[in-house]
């Protein structure tokens, strides 16, 4: 998914960071539709999408020295669309979790009418955290890896991280080559299903496809900020 940004994009970004209204309008025109589709497919409502994107575009406009353009954080190591989608998804997950916490507080208050529900809320609102999504991806993936057999994890690393051939695995284990191939494919299928199940367990409203999950990991791995 990720690649170096083109020279044209670099120039456009520079203008956006400097507050050029035309460049900012072009940025919005180019990416608003794709981001709307991505957030909707991940489970955000139409209202949430509109609010998130309105905030996102507003944050791309530089304020004073205290509040530079959000685009200053873009490292250029992945696509701009992938990066914007990751920022927006991160914010959306924060928003949904806050809503869930508020809902739980309200339920507690209804159960105990004499108790002020706002006493359960933090003293100050938590600022948007860039690591919300990283923690979610990491925890889900760690849980899925932990459910894999030691043999599966080691063989996956040998083949896909250290570039051993399946024939070399055959020689090590005394298996038939087709068994190695099936074993690795099944291990990957289990990682996929366990990871997505872990995601659902943590944030049931989040609709991430496996490709989405992998893309988000790649965006962070190559250098999100």
């Amino acid at each position: 998914m990720c690649s170096q940004t083109s020279h044209a994009t670099d120039e456009g970004l520079r203008k956006c960071r400097e507050g050029d209204p035309e460049a900012l309008a072009e940025l919005r025109t180019r990416y608003h539709g794709p981001l709307l589709n991505i957030l909707s497919s991940r489970g955000a409502t139409a209202t949430e999408v509109e609010d998130l994107l309105a905030d996102l575009w507003a944050d791309c406009v530089a304020g004073d020295t205290e509040r530079p353009s959000l685009l200053e954080k873009f490292s250029g190591k992945c696509t701009l669309q992938g990066w914007l989608a990751t920022v927006a998804t991160n914010r959306w997950i924060d928003l949904k979790r806050k809503q869930v916490r508020r809902g739980e507080t309200t339920k507690t208050a209804l159960a105990n009418k004499d108790h002020d529900p706002f006493e359960n809320l933090p003293a100050s609102s938590t600022p948007l955290r860039e690591d919300t999504l990283v923690n979610l991806l990491r925890d889900s993936l760690q849980a899925a890896f932990a459910r894999c057999s030691p043999q599966a994890m080691v063989l996956l690393r040998l083949v896909y991280m250290h570039n051993l051939s399946q024939r070399e695995i055959v020689r090590m284990l005394g298996w038939h080559e087709s068994k190695v191939s099936r074993f690795l494919a099944k291990a990957m299928e289990e990682i996929e299903s366990h990871t997505l199940a872990e995601l659902k367990k943590r944030d049931p409203w989040l609709e991430l496809s496996w490709q989405d999950f992998v893309d988000l990991c790649e965006t962070h791995q190559v250098g999100f900020l």
Partner: protein, 75 residues
């Protein structure tokens, strides 16, 4: 699939808080002997199972095993 596992594993390497310093550790002498036998296909099923558990607990040793296997390519 190759790319997918690599992306996931590298993501965890980058963001797992418990991995610092792992790459510096070499297998013990006893473990090296077992890994060399594994590389040559000389471990029984039960011995393989024990070694895989040990490798999974010490993932930094997997690179050492991979080097052993690669060294056999020209043997």
């Amino acid at each position: 699939m190759a790319d997918t596992f690599e992306i996931l594993a590298k993501f965890l390497e980058k963001f797992d808080e418990d991995v610092e310093g792992r790459e510096m550790q070499e297998p013990t002498e006893e473990a090296k002997g077992k890994l060399q036998r594994l590389a040559r296909g000389n471990l029984s099923d039960s011995e393989q199972s024990a070694v895989f558990s040990e490798l999974n607990r010490n993932p930094q040793w997997i690179a050492w095993l991979a080097q052993e296997v690669k060294a056999l390519r020209n043997a």
